[in-house]
């Protein structure tokens, strides 16, 4: 018999310790490769590279908070995407859901500045969540009723949202001719998150932590969470068990869209105080990878977001020191993600060398 030298078999049970070990090895390997790449481009030695990156990300209080801000945005979106992905509904429309949430928030800040901060926050929060949910509802409805491919549907909705944003940017342009909205309510700070503990990002931090805990409980310990898991595993099983797949799909995707819409609210009211087509800035896509790699576990999602945020601000620091541009961070993030994605293989499968008979 001619048998292959290497065989692949499914690895059903792997200890938690070994899983963590494999992922850690992947991250370390990736950081090494990134170090080499950066060294080749800039001529710094790898140790200097990581020292500079750490300074860039956490060197001062402002920098640390800005890294945290990036982490919060990513985690918030990833938390929003988690229930949809767990159900195997490929919502790659976070980008658009963030933008419509952002548009609504910016609109509230512009038109309703007079009603006072408390009412304004509540309105912005609710309406941005609603906008995100509406944006996710269409793909969900067609997926549930006609099995329309949701990956492609949500992808297209992103671009409709981007054009909608361009429309509102042109409408709210300030000053006229700049093609940007500028900082909204610069003088009165209406609708801006107030500073608490020395940072305007503190409220976002609390918001994300609450969402993280909520999502953890929702997915793990509620009937809804269980239904999501069953639909994700097999729609037929779900139907057999008497679960209404249509209802679960639409309900879950509405929730997913709503949280992504809130991320838009956070980005506008809690960070940039303006709206532009780059308000989402590709985070909707990055967060997909975060949610997937974390296997939808809230704490892991925050951890991976932190790693990516660190890389983002760290590489920006290096780039600006060498007069190179910011996109260096995207290369580094790409490399890291490739490694982590590849490492999943060694968790799910195991390689066996030699013939079937020889090894037990």
């Amino acid at each position: 018999m001619n048998e292959p030298l290497l065989r692949i078999v499914k690895n059903e049970a792997m200890s938690f310790k070994k899983k963590v070990l494999i992922r850690a090895v992947a991250v370390i390997l990736a950081l090494l490769v990134c170090g080499i790449v950066i060294t080749l481009i800039t001529g710094y030695n790898p140790v200097t590279v990581y020292v500079t990156m750490t300074q860039g990300a956490f060197g001062t209080k402002t920098r640390a908070w800005s890294t945290v801000k990036e982490m919060l945005m990513l985690s918030c979106i990833a938390i929003g995407l988690a229930p949809a992905f767990k159900m195997k509904f490929w919502n790659i429309g976070a980008e658009g859901q963030i933008l419509v949430g952002g548009i609504v928030s910016a609109g509230c800040m512009i038109y309703l500045a007079k009603i006072g901060n408390a009412g304004l926050f509540i309105l912005m929060f609710l309406l941005s969540a609603l906008a995100g949910a509406v944006w996710a509802f269409l793909p969900a409805l067609f997926k549930a009723k006609f099995n329309t491919n949701e990956t492609l549907f949500t992808l297209m909705m992103n671009y409709v949202a981007i054009q909608l944003t361009s429309y509102f940017v042109a409408k709210w342009e300030n000053p006229i001719g700049s093609n940007t909205v500028g900082v909204i309510n610069q003088s009165g700070h209406e609708g801006w998150f107030p500073k608490i503990c020395g940072s305007q990002y503190f409220i976002s931090l609390i918001m994300v932590l609450v969402l993280a805990v909520f999502m953890h409980i929702y997915l793990k310990y509620t009937k809804h969470g269980y239904e999501i898991a069953v639909v994700g595993e097999s729609e037929n099983t779900a139907r057999y068990a008497g679960i209404s797949v249509t209802k679960v799909v639409i309900r879950t995707v509405l929730l997913s869209g709503a949280i992504c819409g809130m991320a838009g609210f956070m980005a506008v009211a809690g960070a940039s105080h303006t709206i532009s087509t780059s308000t989402a800035g590709g985070r909707g896509f990055t967060a997909i990878i975060v949610a997937w790699l974390a296997k939808f576990d809230s704490a892991t999602m925050i951890l991976i977001s932190l790693l990516l945020a660190f890389l983002e601000s760290g590489s920006s620091e290096i780039a600006s020191k060498c007069h190179l541009n910011d996109f260096a961070s995207k290369i580094v993030i790409g490399i890291i993600l490739f490694f982590i994605l590849g490492s999943e293989f060694f968790i799910n499968y195991k390689l066996i060398v030699g013939k079937k008979g020889e090894k037990k």
Binding site: I8, L155, I288
Partner: protein
């Protein structure tokens, strides 16, 4: 009449960028892999061609036009195919999730391209903005004599060679997929890898080849954009990414047939540029008009999912990893 001609020309130029991207992706998806890395791959193709001829043009006083074109095309093909190879290795050999790997490739490719696009002059120790005038002129050379001869000449013969190359590749891919044995094998792999495997077709090899060659073709879209569309310069404005996603959308629009991609891509170009030629539009409403290609794609997607015709559906195993021992 004149504005019709310019609209038509703009539509063809726009369409050509996404036609390359789309045809490459059709080949990939026919093998059962949904590669969301198309924007990243087009970025890689674009920057590889720009960087290589930037170095070449800088190294010699009298760059040869033909050599410029060859260097640009070959380096773009290699770079994009390598991008495809990363994706193929992760999704086929390591059985990672296709959507996630594709998106990562888009992030990575966009990062590489915009990084080098913005830093090329600094890295090369030159201070002028990146531009490759000789190569760009070579890419934009049209057929002398007939390109300006009347309306017909302007409509059909006023473009650089890549416009015609795109059509040729689309037709070749169509013939390959639907009229050759190897094409049939490839489609079988995309529909049902189990069946293909049982019939003695090497599933992994077919997928690898389709993805890498498909990526190479998609990468040409980046070359055309950089060399012809924006005339041999670089812009960090994310437009290649937008075009890349449109190429993915076009795949759906064509219902996975590269023969439809030819007219589909020009139609997208027409829809995209139409706002420019409709009188009385404010800048605001122009932005709304630019939604058209995406909205049309959405409608096609919905209509196709309502119809039951088998030839309108995506390849059956699109997006699924194949593991022989899992049946």
């Amino acid at each position: 009449m004149n504005s019709f001609i310019t609209l038509f020309q703009a539509a063809i130029a726009f369409g050509t960028v996404i036609l390359f991207g789309c045809v490459g992706e059709i080949l990939t998806e026919r093998a059962g892999n949904l590669n969301l890395g198309v924007p990243g791959i087009m970025y890689l193709g674009g920057i590889a061609s720009l960087a290589s001829v930037f170095i070449y043009e800088g190294s010699t006083d009298s760059p040869s036009k033909i050599l410029c074109v060859i260097i640009a095309m070959v380096s773009a093909f290699i770079a994009s195919a390598l991008g495809g190879l990363i994706y193929a290795f992760l999704t086929i050999s390591l059985k990672a999730n296709q959507n996630v790997c594709g998106l990562t490739l888009t992030i990575f490719g966009g990062g590489v391209a915009n990084f080098f696009g913005g830093s090329l002059n600094t890295l090369a120790g030159r201070f002028e903005a990146v531009s490759v005038p000789v190569t760009s002129a070579a890419f934009r050379t049209n057929i002398p004599g007939i390109s300006n001869a009347g309306t017909i000449g302007k409509l059909f013969f006023s473009y650089g060679f890549m416009v015609y190359l795109a059509i040729a590749i689309a037709i070749i891919v169509h013939i390959f997929l639907h009229h050759t044995r190897r094409g049939l094998n490839l489609r079988t792999v995309g529909e049902s890898p189990q069946t293909a495997d049982a019939a003695g077709i090497n599933v992994d090899r077919n997928k690898y080849l389709a993805i890498c060659i498909g990526a190479g073709i998609s990468g040409f879209g980046g070359v055309y954009y950089v060399m012809d569309y924006i005339k041999g310069t670089w812009a960090n404005d994310g437009s290649i990414e937008k075009l890349g996603w449109l190429a993915v959308a076009l795949v759906i629009f064509t219902t996975w047939k590269s023969s439809h991609a030819v007219w589909g891509s020009y139609l997208f170009g027409l829809l995209y540029w139409m706002y420019y030629y409709i009188p009385g539009l404010t800048r605001r409403s122009q932005e709304l008009f630019k939604m058209l290609p995406y909205v049309v794609t959405l409608l096609v997607l919905i209509v196709n999912s309502l119809r039951s015709g088998k030839d309108k559906q995506p390849p059956k195993s699109l997006g699924l990893a194949y593991f022989r021992e899992e049946r």
